[in-house]
């Protein structure tokens, strides 16, 4: 049997300026990963042997598998159902909910966790109200303890479902009209059309969203320990700081990384043919069917639940705490924080999207095993705990300083570039998946036409691809922006000692081990997130005078927010 070859799009050669450029930048971003994987080849330490012998690893595996699995499932439910309703039907509040459902991304996960803990506590709003209404006394009734395994699954699902929601919604939107029309021909009810046609077609995007959610679950330490669940990452930290064995910790991390890589490659292998069956029909304008009374209420309810749980309730509680603790509004304190947060987040967003476009486009036009390898290896950073990323980046900077810095009198340690590099390593994943989805939407045929007319790849990228994927680009920028806004650990360790909104919120929260005092700062982060989302919505929804956009882009690809 002839060995199946990848489709060499334009040239048969592996190496040209595009693949070299992409390979170079991908390998550069992947340097910390190679640094970690390097530890796989080190000798075993006592701690590592202890870990393997004891039942610790088994406990960690069991907990992690259940945690990541259930969270993936719940966030998929929270993401898919509203995404379907919002892209197929029209019901009260559907246009508002369409972008409001993304808002939970503006809340850091640990803030969500601490806030819910505060709500369900014996001194929290919920129990206090119940005690007042029913006259119960403290200590005489049993109440649900949210700081448990199920509570953790709930908090993570409700905080991270927007990743699944966004990707599912974009996928549904592409297929909605044709799906419904053809399903009607077959006499399918809308439920059957959803289950048999729309959902399977959207599965690759949904799995990608779930993968992002699960990676974020794996990389968390603080929230997981607070809720009393010992996951794999807890093991990494225990080996590192409890047993003071960096080797063992890196070995554990390297195995986690390998696992994530394997899953990523597997995923690519399973869906690689499905891209041929995607319907990217730019000329169809999705029509949204209005719903009658009780169905409309049902749809509205289903969409309201994630928004309520993931955004409204936590924000209301934070506002309550803000007033309760008489927080002082001090612009002199806040402005530097806001400025630092904004500049770092925006700068990283632009940088990551630039890299994502470079890697994604090269992958599209030269799909072969090397470009695939480069793209996979550069987008694994999201699964790593931020302390590990920080340590790897610091080690690399130190190595550079020792070898070259002294001669050039250029030091990377504690520099801004180091911090931006650390952010890029960690968040390129998020930008890449969004940008790649955009490139897939544009499709290869249009590139074929362009090349056949003699246009260079660069010009095709800039004049054809990017304008057509305006919305994917913007959503990539937004996602990275929000993620960097929430990141504090990297900011603490790498780069100059910046104070951002995220670091200040975390400092106050960890001092009191409570969210009440840092509620106003957390609300500032959320406000900034809301601001950037509404800004994006505004940009996307202002009608564009350019007729090319109106005809091909605006009509077929409505606002992402």
């Amino acid at each position: 049997m002839k060995k199946k070859k990848f489709y060499f799009f334009r040239e048969a050669r592996y190496w040209n300026k595009w693949t070299l450029g992409m390979g170079g930048s991908a390998l550069f971003v992947a340097l910390p990963l190679f640094f970690i994987l390097f530890y796989l080849f080190q000798a075993e330490s006592d701690t590592w042997r202890f870990f393997k012998q004891s039942s610790l690893l088994n406990t960690y595996f069991k907990n992690t598998v259940w945690f990541v699995g259930l969270t993936g499932l719940l966030s998929a439910i929270f993401g898919i159902l509203p995404a379907w309703f919002v892209s197929t039907y029209r019901f009260p509040f559907s246009s508002v909910l369409e972008w409001a459902l993304i808002l939970p991304l503006a809340i850091p996960v640990y803030v969500m966790a601490y806030t819910y803990s505060g709500i369900f506590d014996i001194t929290g709003v919920l129990q206090t109200t119940l005690r007042t209404i029913f006259g119960w006394k403290r200590g005489e009734y049993a109440f649900f303890e949210i700081k448990s395994f199920l509570g953790l699954v709930f908090v993570f699902s409700v905080a991270l479902y927007p990743y699944v929601y966004l990707l599912a919604r974009d996928s549904f939107r592409q297929q909605t009209s044709i799906v419904l029309e053809i399903s009607r021909l077959f006499g399918y009810s809308s439920v059957r059309a959803f289950c048999k046609v729309a959902l399977p077609l959207a599965l690759p995007s949904i799995f990608l969203g779930v993968f992002l959610v699960q990676m974020e679950c794996l990389s968390d330490y603080g929230t997981v320990t607070y809720y009393g669940v010992s996951t794999y990452t807890v093991g990494i930290y225990k080996a590192w700081y409890g047993y003071q064995d960096k080797n063992a910790a890196m070995q554990l991390t390297a195995r986690l990384l390998l696992f994530a890589l394997v899953v990523s490659v597997l995923f690519w292998w399973v869906v690689r043919h499905q891209k041929r069956y995607q319907l990217y029909l730019h000329q169809f304008k999705p029509e949204r069917t209005p719903l009658s009374s009780y169905r409309a209420i049902l749809a509205c309810g289903v969409c309201l639940i994630p928004f309520l749980l993931g955004f409204l309730i936590p924000v209301l509680q934070l506002l309550y705490w803000m007033f309760q603790t008489h927080q002082q509004f001090s612009l002199t304190v806040w402005l530097p924080l806001i400025r630092n947060s904004f500049l770092l987040a925006f700068g990283t967003a632009i940088l990551t999207v630039f890299l994502a476009v470079l890697i994604g486009y090269t992958l599209k036009i030269y799909e072969n095993r090397w470009t695939l390898f480069f793209s996979k290896v550069a987008t694994m950073g999201y699964v790593l705990p931020s302390s590990v990323v920080a340590f790897s980046v610091m080690s690399l900077c130190h190595f550079f300083d020792q070898q070259m810095g002294q001669f050039l009198s250029l030091f990377l340690s504690n520099s801004l570039i180091a911090l931006l590099f650390a952010y890029v390593v960690r968040f390129l994943t998020v930008a890449f998946h969004s940008v790649e989805a955009g490139f897939t939407k544009v499709g290869k045929k249009i590139d074929e036409v362009s090349f056949s007319l003699g246009t260079s790849p660069l010009k095709t990228l800039l004049t054809i691809n990017l304008p057509l994927m305006k919305y994917s680009l913007l959503s990539a920028i937004i996602l990275v922006f929000l993620d960097v806004l929430k990141e504090f650990n990297l900011t603490f360790l790498v780069g100059p000692s910046f104070e951002t909104l995220a670091t200040a919120t975390y400092s106050l929260a960890i001092t009191h081990e409570d969210m009440a005092e840092s509620s106003v700062l957390a609300l500032l982060i959320i406000c900034m997130g809301i601001f950037i989302l509404t800004f994006a919505k505004f940009i996307l929804e202002t009608p564009n005078k350019n007729s090319f956009f109106r005809r091909y882009v605006y009509a077929s690809d409505p606002p992402a927010f």
Binding site: Y226, Y227, G228, K238, Y241, M394, F492
Partner: protein, 351 residues
């Protein structure tokens, strides 16, 4: 045109890092009159920031603060070695200070004022690190369900009467690790191991979850009768703006265990001068500032921590807790056993 703007924007951003080649000046000679020191600290208290500002006003020395997690900052110090810009390393636990000393990132700081202001068991005998504040790990009991006469020592918590009644947080927390380390020093590894075993098997009311404040709240919920917490968390609860939390705190009393033998376990929040410090004199000045009486008073008033200075009177809140005999074992010894403590926790399944 738009694509050109996009490219231009990206180009600008690509250029920007080069405009700022980020030189690191190991010797900031520009500040000849006023020095500048850098602190790596695990403490995130806003009151610390106020103290630093007071110091700057008084001496003209500017302070750059890098906050973070003590363990990670220690790794950073070790990595940076002699090129580290840090002058002081501050932590909230003895374990980290001991690890810093053994890793060789601290240097000796000779100061008579520090020696006079800090009791011997709260600073390093070789002057590598100094305690700045003290906190005790005590037993909180529910006033209605437990009489203080029933309580005696930490070790007695494994007795039959406390079956499924003790609330305590995770073993990943350094305060618990230091507590167990002090047991190892006092009673030996075997007895400490048995203690952990008994606690996990019979005394603990539930799997460890939450932080110290959550243990007190669980007391109020009726999930247990006694909890092990640090003294300053009780202060935070008692002075909370949430009335419910104040009521919960009032329904709970504090008991200082082991008054009959070695005394209650205490831990310090302390600092040491880094080996890479280029501003040793200024760093010691800051340390001396932090142990003088006004600063110690501030620690007590705002954070509910015990001052280390023997002549500083504790705040009203601390006075209300009463005086107690503290475990005067050298904290150096306690720091040594931290790793062993983690091992014992893991061997017996204390998560």
């Amino acid at each position: 045109m738009k694509k050109l703007y996009f490219l231009f924007f990206v180009f600008i951003l690509g250029c920007e890092p080069n405009r700022e080649p980020s030189p690191k000046n190991p010797n900031p000679e520009k500040n000849k009159n006023m020095g500048t020191i850098t602190i790596y600290t695990h403490r995130h208290y806003p009151s610390d920031q106020l103290l630093f500002e007071q110091f700057t006003q008084k001496t003209g020395i500017t302070i750059t603060v890098r906050k973070g997690n003590g363990n990670e900052l220690l790794d950073k110090l070790k990595l940076e070695g002699q090129n580290s810009p840090a002058d002081l390393f501050m932590t909230a636990d003895i374990g980290m200070l001991y690890q810093a000393k053994t890793a060789g990132v601290l240097q000796k700081a000779e100061s008579n004022l520090l020696k006079e202001s800090i009791p011997a068991h709260l600073r390093d005998p070789e002057n590598y690190w100094f305690g700045l504040t003290k906190r005790a790990r005590v037993i909180a009991y529910h006033k209605e369900r437990v009489k203080p006469e029933d309580l005696s020592t930490y070790e007695a918590l494994t007795e039959e009467k406390w079956k499924k009644k003790v609330l305590i947080r995770s073993s990943t927390n350094v305060y618990n690790q230091s507590l167990l380390a002090s047991f190892i020093v006092a009673n030996g590894e075997e007895k400490a191991n048995t203690w952990v075993q008994q606690m996990v098997k019979q005394s603990m009311a539930r799997k460890p979850v939450g932080n110290d404040r959550d243990q007190v709240k669980a007391l109020a919920e009726g999930l247990g009768d006694i909890a092990i917490i640090n003294t300053y968390y009780y202060g935070l609860l008692l002075h909370s703006t949430n009335e419910q939390e104040v009521e919960v705190a009032k329904s709970v009393g504090l008991f200082f265990p082991n008054q009959g033998d070695r005394g209650t376990h205490i831990n310090i929040s302390g600092a040491g001068v880094t080996a890479s410090s280029k501003n040793k004199k200024e760093a010691i000045q800051l340390l001396e500032f932090l142990v003088q009486e006004e600063s110690q008073k501030q620690f007590a008033e705002v954070n509910y921590e015990y001052p280390v200075h023997p002549k500083v009177a504790p705040s009203d809140f601390l006075k209300s807790l009463g005086t107690f005999k503290e475990d005067s074992v050298s904290l150096e010894e306690v720091g040594k056993q931290n790793k062993k403590a983690v091992q014992l926790f893991d061997q017996n399944g204390w998560e």
